[in-house]
Structure formats: structure tokens, C-alpha cells
Symmetry: C2
Subunit: 406 residues, 2 copies
């Protein structure tokens, strides 16, 4: 199979993303999730003519001084304003007393016993002033939240205000991250001069955490067919998604594609027309598990995770019904403008690390080799530079480009 374009690879992932399922969570555990139900207004909002200031409620045509006949606190059933030049003391958030049509803030009032007069120079009363009328914000039954809604603070407040204490959201997958490579040793192990510490696994775990995925198991296996196959089988049984790093290139010792096949994982694609990260692999396990094989180079691994794993995570949380091209789960910035001209590649997409500056400017931070990830920690993510035509590779400063954060 020929290598895919980046857009084709994304389409493949969306077409095979499946559905991680739905779960019902109490609101206190639903932050950061994606909604999988429609939410309608439980009542008119506000549900009653709501007093907006502390002060008095009266009729706008009443003649001061007014006789104060009672106190209407927040949370109390509405009183009735007696006939005549009367008023009722009221509190912010209270229901407007029956018969009143106007609220005067306490700052504009003088009080002597039960006699209330206006401060000299106060504005004349207007009907409806400082009243937030029932239904002004929305009417009962109106759709307030749709499936695919990101549950940040404001959406959670909307759920609570409408009596939704348990909410249907997309389930998050359990993810196994598997490092391969015989040169790798553990972070806290003694290291020989020709060995390298495992770091891709924790890097990918950091990205997953940023997308709200915390059920993650990291493991390492050497790049030999039998142990790799056995390990893959065990990890497939334990997780919804596997992310391998290393072993997907062309080498004699790159056993990952063959081991995946032996473990029953069907290849969807291998190789994308991009740099870095060209050898990226994607397939489907025997029980529908989604499996990524990321290149072992640290920059390539981070780029492929930021660009492709993010797509799967969002799509799988939303299920078959919703298949829009999109990045990570959280809303926000998906585009930057280049702060400086950059060179595109011919016939393949270039991913370039950037820092965000000011209002949506991306400052290119090219890394000299795809092994050099020490400077990536100072960047905010990558921009995607589509292939350029021969003789027209330069993309000028100010060009809008897609952005994937990490």
C-alpha cells in the first residue's frame, strides 16, 4: 500500500475510530468530558421574576414615602404587596412580590422606622427596573446543550441549573503504551554509554493526561518477535487503545508490524507522507482495539501522538454518530499565523514545533534532528505545513496554519 497523505490518514482514523461507549457520571466527575445527550431547559430561566438588587419592591407609580410592610428574602414564597403606597423589603435573588413591578436599590433609599423615602436626586422609578424577568434568558424546553459539547465550567453549571445531576458522557479509553527498542533502559536504572533511557512512553502519557485520559499503563518489551507478540496479546486483552513506540521502520529488527499481525491486529495504514513521523502505523485489534505504532524517534513519536492519537480520542468518545474532523477533546485554538516564513516540503507534509506568541502567532522552533527533543519542552505544539509545489516551497509570514497543542 502506498503511503497516505495526512488528510487520508486522518480520514482512516475517523472511519475506524469506533466508539468507546457511554457512561453516566455525577457532575463532580464529568469535567473535561464530552456530552452524549441533549439537555433542554428544565424551566424558564430565570424561573421567576428575579430581584437583582437588595432594596425594596414597589409599584413604579407609588408616591413616596412608602410604608414597608414586610421582608421578602431569597428562597421564600412570594408575598403580596398591599394596596396603597407600600413596599416590601427585598433581597437579591428573591422572587418579586405579587403586585410589585419595580425594584429600588438600598443605596437610593432613606429609612425611618417603616417609612421609606428616596435619597434626594435619585432617578425616577421605571417599571421593571432591577428585575430579571422570568424566561428572559431562555424558555422551558429550549435546547441548551447538544451532544459533542465539551464539559468545562460553564457547561457544568448549565447542567446543574437544569437539574441534571447525572450526565451521559463519552467513556474514556484505557490505554497501554508499549516501548520497544533494545537500547532502552528504565528511567531509574543504571545506564551504559550505548543505552538510552525510556522517555517516549512518559511523553505520550503526558499528552494523554492533557486530553483527560488517565487510565494508562506503560510497559517495555524487547524487539524480538516472540516476546513482542506475547506482550501485545496481553496488552490487547487489557486495553481499548495501544500506542507502541519504535520498531515500525524497515530494519531487520523492526518486528512490530509482524508481531501485530500475529497478535491479530489488522493494518489500516503504514506510512504517511510527512516529516517527521513518516513510518507511523495504525490498525485494529481482534476485539476492535485501536493500535498505533509510532516511530521511536522522540520528536516523531510526539508529533504523531499530537496529530493522530488526539483524533482517535475525540472521535471514540463521541461514537459513530458524530464524525467531524477535529483535534483534541478540549476546545480552543486550532490555528496559528506564522510569525516568520517557513519552507514546506515537496510532496509531503511538514510538522514544525512552534511557540505561541501574542494573539495567535506561531513562532517556528525547528529542531535540527528528529532525535532532538530537549528543546520541545519550550514549545506549545506543532503546526501542519501542507506539501508545497516545486519552486514554491516558501510559506510567507502571516500564513494561517493548523495547530496541534501539547
Amino acid at each position: 500500500m502506498a503511503a497516505l497523505t495526512v488528510a487520508q490518514a486522518e480520514e482512516c482514523i475517523l472511519a475506524h475510530a469506533g466508539d468507546f461507549g457511554t457512561e453516566c457520571l455525577p457532575l463532580g466527575q464529568a469535567a473535561g468530558r464530552l456530552l452524549r445527550q441533549e439537555v433542554r431547559a428544565e424551566r424558564d430561566q430565570p424561573p421567576y421574576d428575579r430581584v437583582m438588587m437588595d432594596g425594596i419592591a414597589c409599584r413604579a407609580d407609588a408616591a413616596f414615602p412608602l410604608t414597608c410592610t414586610g421582608l421578602q428574602g431569597a428562597g421564600q414564597a412570594p408575598q403580596s404587596l398591599p394596596e396603597g403606597n407600600t413596599c416590601i423589603e427585598i433581597m437579591t435573588g428573591a422572587v418579586l412580590p405579587h403586585g410589585a413591578d419595580c425594584v429600588v436599590p438600598v443605596e437610593r433609599l432613606k429609612r425611618e422606622g417603616d417609612q421609606i423615602s428616596l435619597q434626594p436626586g435619585s432617578a425616577p422609578l421605571e417599571m421593571g427596573q432591577f428585575i430579571h424577568p422570568r424566561g428572559a434568558d431562555c424558555r422551558q424546553g429550549v435546547v441548551l446543550l447538544r451532544p459533542e459539547q465539551y464539559l468545562g465550567g460553564p457547561a457544568l453549571a448549565v447542567l446543574a441549573a437544569n437539574g441534571v445531576s447525572q450526565v451521559q458522557v463519552g467513556r474514556l479509553p484505557s490505554v497501554g503504551i508499549i516501548s520497544t527498542g533494545d537500547e532502552l533502559v528504565a528511567v531509574d536504572a543504571p545506564v551504559e554509554a550505548w543505552q538510552i533511557r525510556r522517555s517516549n512512553d512518559i511523553g505520550v502519557q503526558g499528552l494523554l493526561a492533557g486530553w483527560g485520559v488517565h487510565e494508562v499503563q506503560r510497559s517495555w518489551v524487547r524487539d524480538a518477535l516472540a516476546p513482542l507478540t506475547a506482550h501485545l496479546q496481553a496488552q490487547l486483552a487489557a486495553h481499548d487503545v495501544l500506542i507502541l513506540s519504535g520498531g515500525v521502520s524497515m530494519g531487520v529488527f523492526d518486528h512490530v508490524p509482524q508481531a501485530l499481525e500475529q497478535a491479530g491486529v489488522k493494518k489500516v495504514f503504514h506510512r504517511v507522507l510527512q516529516r517527521p513521523g513518516g513510518p507511523v502505523w495504525f490498525g485494529i485489534g481482534p476485539q476492535g482495539q485501536r493500535v498505533f505504532g509510532l516511530p521511536g524517534n522522540p520528536v516523531s513519536a510526539m508529533v504523531c501522538a499530537a496529530r493522530y492519537v488526539s483524533v482517535l480520542l475525540r472521535a471514540g468518545q463521541l461514537g459513530e454518530a458524530i464524525r467531524t474532523v477535529g483535534g483534541p477533546s478540549a476546545p480552543g485554538l486550532s490555528e496559528l499565523r506564522l510569525s516568520a516564513p517557513v519552507e514546506r516540503l515537496q510532496n509531503r507534509t511538514r510538522f514544525l514545533p512552534v511557540q505561541i506568541r501574542g494573539a495567535g502567532e506561531g513562532v517556528p522552533c525547528p529542531v535540527p534532528t528528529s532525535g532532538d527533543f530537549m528543546t520541545l519542552a519550550q514549545t506549545d505544539g506543532i503546526v501542519e505545513l501542507p506539501p508545497g509545489a516545486e519552486g514554491n516551497l516558501q510559506l510567507p509570514a502571516g500564513s494561517p496554519v493548523r495547530f496541534y497543542g501539547w
Copy 2:
């Protein structure tokens, strides 16, 4: 005390933010945290002359065909290339064999037994090709990460690669969120026509979750002095930070400021020259607890949490040593350009909900009243519009403005 400007309020919070302390975490639990140590390169990076392709290692001046004398796998101690027209088969990630100065990728080779020749038309060999030389990315001892570094995926990978398996990070606070207001009922309770469901507490919890703070307790207390004071005392004993909503205005029933005083919380400020959210309150508890009193209006509560609580959380995680003005913990976008002209307020800051569009454009989404939070779920955060001068209130489209996400 007169009301503060927004900048003065921020300075007050920074000056009184204190220090939530430091904790040492395994890397797998450190995602999203702020670093509180310096990290230097454990070794040169790469730590050895690293082979970048599968193929052979040889001398650039060797004459083909070459005799293949062995195989140098990744993770194996370096072999020595024998004199003469010889080569050693090598794997990506392996150490370069002693005596070799050049790598030829397998795609450019033909093999017959142990005799290796170049594919016709292959480029001539260059010394150093496909070798990532020891120390090319950085030298041992170089500072790679500084305190205040956000620990996303790339920074975690840098820590792992440099042997840091336990990392010093800023501790996260335990937060108590306290709703006041006699009109409030629980999300799943029966609700009378003149009552409102509690929603500010879960809205603020959603923001905290987005900033990585998960040790949160929500509670409700009626707005009466004695129970409020007792509840505050209990919550102060249990948490580092308290966030109250409601009861900070001027009403007879607004007992929050007095109850805070009785519970030993010293006021730092009350009221900021802003809309919405002007009555916001901030103080320090008897054991240094940080206490916010947010207005009860849902939009005001969200605005004040996004603008001020975020500042405290970042500063408290970094401790006394680092006191830079900054927003939430995570890096990213802190500025937008207005997509349309907006009206500033005279003598006070205006906070305006916005949607992010394209490369850093903020689309104004004004809410008709500060109680109307049903539409906030469709916005990405707020922009801060500094006070305008009389006759010059309009801020034109394209103006850069500070952005606070939610």
C-alpha cells in the same frame, strides 16, 4: 477602602498568594504540574554517536563491495570495524561501531552473502552521514528545564531521558467551594417556583479541574451569621483555599464579609472596578488560607474565578521565589484580537465572553444580564477590556486584548 483596579487586585493576590509547598512525584503522576527544581543534562545528548538508519556502518572512503563482518544491534556495546573494505550491519538507535564514520541506509544496498554493494545510481558516501553525533543536541550539565516549567508531554520526556524518575513540583491546594444563598437547592432536589438550583459551585469546580485541581469539596450553607461562621471555621480547617459564592454585596442578608471576619479571615480587598463581578472579595485566613468571595450571579462568579482564582493557583504552586503576573497554570494562548469593535466602560474594566475563531480571533458574545449563563457554555473564555476614556469608549476590531480561558 476604595475599590481597586483589576491590575491592583491581581497584584494583591500575587503579594498574598503564599506557597502551597513542594512535593516529590513519580513522573507518571506529574503531568500538568509546575516544576520546582532545575534539571540539567545527565549526559551528552545523544549519549553516543547514534545510528539514524537501518543499514551498514563503514568508512566513507571504503571501496565497494564491502565484506560484512558482523551485526551491531541497538543496545549492544560497540563493536570494532576491521581494517580494509569492511562493514558492520547496523540498526537504528545503535551505537556507531568503533572505526566507522558513515552509515548507508539499507534501501541503497544490495547484498549477496556477506558481500555488500551499492544500488546503481546511489549518492556517493559522505563522512558522518546518517549519524547523530554524541552531544549534538546538548552537552552534559546544560540546564534543560527551569523552575516554573509546565510539565506537559515533552517536558516529562526530557525528565525521563535525564534519569529524573521523581520530580519536585508545586503542590496543588485542597479547595473548598461554598455556596451561599437561601434561594438555592441541590441539583437533584425538588425545586419550588421561587428557588434556584445550585450551579456556581459545579461551574467553579469545572474550572479548577481544567487547571488540574481535583481535591475539591462543595458545600452549601444558608446566609445567616452563626451557621455561616461555623461552616467557614470547619472549611478553613480542611482546605488551603476557600471559594465562596454569593453574599458579598450590600444586602442586609449578605453576611459573608462579617462571618469571614468572625472566622478570623482578614480582608485584603473587597470590590474591584470591573463589570461583571465588581463585589469580588479576597482575604487571608488565620493559618494563611486564601479565601475568595465571588458574587452570586453566575456570570460574575465564572468571570472572577477565571480572572483571579487562576492567578492564585499558579502563584501558589510556584511559591514565593517566583512572582510573575500570569494566568492559569497551563501554557498557551493569553491574548486574542477582537473580531468586531466593542464598547469599553468608563472607569472600570469590562470582561466580555468570547469564542475563539481562526488564528487567535476573539468573537464577542455579550450576555444580556449577568444572570444569563446559559450561553456561556458556547464560549471559550473572557477578554479583558481596560477602562476607556469618556468619548473614546470604542475599541476597534483587531485590537489585542488579554484572554482568560474556561
